[in-house]
């Protein structure tokens, strides 16, 4: 090779410039929550800077200014697609801090498990549907939106709200399951299985969809672990890490379910893992509902779970604690705790510090999509502009959770 050839630089010689383009925050794919600062060489992404923070609301600081109970509505607004999981994660961390985690009645544990899995289903429906939508398959999106609406119908029948549920309480639940719950779930599952089939037929073996998802946004196991991937995206790489299995909580060590694992770590495997998880969630719910015990749903200690109105009016201790809990907040002993749970998008954990009062001293969330958003640049560099879309969809960045 001559020197002249070695020094030849196409971009220098042809006087071309790289196109610098701003994708987001106002862009159909970024929904106002994130900005990608792209350097393009034709259609190829040379460099991608990710800027987050457009939905930062100071959630963690907010928590320090209210009582322990008052944080629940804020947790709803982290990953709003699976609000109940955030409720559960927060409640269980506080319970761990108070040392009352093992006092939860059995029915309460069952209800939490069931509701967590419903939240997971709703989240996966949203995520996969939105991914289909952004690849142009609007019909498939609508099928999963319908499935999600039906799941939300169930959640609504349990706690009265569809999206931001605010259902779980420290040491218990806001309300018990409705009477016809089992029949309702059965009916919804029948419809949802049909919708799942339709969605599956429209996309999973669709050549266009496969071409868009296969070998795009892939990442190796080592890198995924270094970046701190968890949840479906890590499992798509082939790591069988699921908090429900690794550090079982609630009922998960007693239930029979599979943890789907991919092999390539690309978008299509992420898609397949999520599709399978929907089916596994249905399995978990069906098992839990079969063996759902009767009994109380709250911890019987009025210092932990705000006593019922009836109790307040009849029992003196309950009235005292109702008053004290309202005025001073539930008293959590001095200490700190971290409790990992398997959110639909990865490991959701609350790190709480208490100075022994009625308010959290410090509240910190580990949002799963934050870790994955870091890797966006790494995953899309060298890929086509169009590949950014499925990659971004599959890491499932939820602004509320990522920016807090």
């Amino acid at each position: 090779m001559t020197d002249a050839k070695k020094d030849y630089d196409f971009h220098k010689e042809s006087h071309t410039e790289r196109m610098v383009i701003n994708m987001g925050p106002s862009h159909p794919a970024t929904h106002g929550t994130v900005r990608f600062f792209l350097k393009l060489d034709g259609e190829k992404i040379v460099h991608c800077e990710t800027e987050i923070g457009y939905l930062h609301r100071g959630f963690e600081k907010h928590c320090e200014n209210g009582s322990w109970t008052q944080a629940f509505p804020y947790t709803d607004r982290l990953n709003y697609n699976s609000a109940i999981q955030n409720n559960v994660a927060y409640a269980m961390t506080v319970e761990k801090l108070m040392g009352v985690a093992d006092k939860m009645p059995e029915r309460g544990v069952y209800i939490r498990t069931i509701m967590c899995e419903f939240a997971r289903m709703a989240d996966h429906y949203t995520n996969l549907g939105a991914a289909a939508l952004e690849l142009g398959a609007l019909t498939a999106f609508i099928y999963f939106v319908e499935a999600r609406e039906l799941v939300w119908d169930i959640i609504e029948s349990v706690c009265g709200a569809r999206l931001t549920s605010n259902y779980i309480r420290i040491g218990g639940h806001a309300s018990d399951l409705p009477e016809n719950f089992k029949a309702h779930v059965k009916k919804v599952f029948a419809t949802n299985r049909e919708l799942y089939e339709d969605f599956d037929k429209l996309l999973t073996k669709n050549r266009i969809f496969l071409d868009r998802m296969r070998d795009t946004g892939s990442i190796s196991v080592e890198e995924a672990i270094q970046y701190g991937f968890t949840g479906p995206c890590l499992r798509a790489c082939g790591v069988e890490y699921d908090v429900r299995r690794a550090q079982p909580y609630l009922l998960y060590d007693q239930l029979d379910f599979d943890v789907p694992v991919g092999s390539t770590g690309d978008n299509f495997d992420r898609y397949l893992v999520r599709m399978e998880e929907i089916r596994q969630s249905m399995r978990i719910i069906e098992q839990a509902i079969e063996t759902l015990p009767e009994g109380p749903i709250n911890i019987a200690d009025p210092a932990v779970r705000q006593p019922s109105k009836e109790g307040v009016n009849t029992v003196m201790e309950m009235m005292i604690f109702h008053f004290k809990n309202e005025i001073e907040g539930i008293q959590v002993p001095r200490g700190e705790a971290y409790f990992p749970t398997e959110g639909s998008n990865g490991e959701v954990g609350f790190y709480l510090v208490s100075d022994g009062g009625g308010k959290p001293y410090k509240c910190r969330v580990r949002p799963p999509c934050f870790a994955m958003t870091q890797a966006m640049g790494r995953m899309v560099e060298g890929a086509f502009l169009a590949d950014l879309i499925p990659t971004f969809d599959m890491i499932n960045l939820i602004g509320g959770e990522c920016d807090r």
Binding site: M19, I21, H27, P28, A29, L40, E43, A132, L133, E134, L135, G136, A137, L138, T139, A140, I142, Y143, E146, L202, L203, N206, I208, F209, D211, R212, F384, L385, A386, D387, L388, I389
Partner: protein, 369 residues
Amino acid sequence: MFEYSYIPPAPLLPEILEMMLKIVFIFTMNMGFFAPVLGYVERKQSALMQDRIGANRADLFGVTAGGLLHIMTDAIKLLFKEDFIPRGADKLLHTIAPLIAVVPALIAFTVIPFGGTYVLWGHKVNLVIADLDMGILFIFAVTSLATYGGAIAGWASNNNWSLLGGVRVAAQMFSYEVAMGLSLVGVFMVFGSLRLTEIGMAQENFWHWGIFYQPLGFILFFACALAENKRVPFDVPEAESELIAGYFTEYSGLKFAMFWMAEFLEIVTIAAILTVLFFGGWNIPFVTLQSLVSFFGFLGDTGSQAAAMFLQVAVFWLKVGALIFLQMLIRWSLPRFRYDQVMNLGWKIILPLALLNIFLTGLFILAAN
């Protein structure tokens, strides 16, 4: 001495009247009927496929007419929107680009026959505006002009997203133009003509329909035509999740409506071309014009011809409608290609297959002779 020979002038008035009526009919069908109604049909059809209700709210004194009034509200909305030209944009090019996109879509219809030849009041009526002997080439020539509309719009908008869309339009259209032309060569070889009226006439017998002679040609041409139409799955130039709206990101109001209309008119044009080339045009299966005329014989000479004409024209539009439905079905079922995958499909799959189709057609014609 001079010899005067008197040549009587051709009866010009009926000619002009016939021409005017045909133009008015086609223009009304396209601009007055299909362009607005397809917007409604698309909303309603997608709603049907997606288990929704679809547009049904616009009402006039409490009458909603099943959502048909949305056509009117859409038009009013687009008329009264601000006509926005971004700073730094080329005003002239930005303004004429939508015109360049919409006009070819209208002109293409001039050579497409929407009925056969009939004798009314002793006057021969050929139901095509311009019966060119290279009709289909004229369509190719004119529709390829529409590419400039998209490309210029992308360039003139002074927006990087538009520019990317404009480049994609140019590349995609160019790639598929070639394959589209080649995919139809087989049809010309079979029918031995480029004149669309002749091709239509040759398909009077049901078993002589183009689809039976050229099944591969049909699939290839249909794929290319969908790509030229720039709708899902080939909507990479406007891919809304990637490029916001591609080359018409910076368009609003009526200018935007023109791009939108061009798309819908192209759908109709594609359906009409497919009908004429592959689905027997205006011919009713197993019913010849002769038998139709004799069936309506009790209406007199002109009456029977007119009845046959109305029936055949209706059948033509019926076929067009069915093919439009098919195109919408595809649009609402499939996800979108990636830019390079569209190119691969065009150059590496459709183009060789089109050449193969020509080769096979040649072999068969040789064998048949």
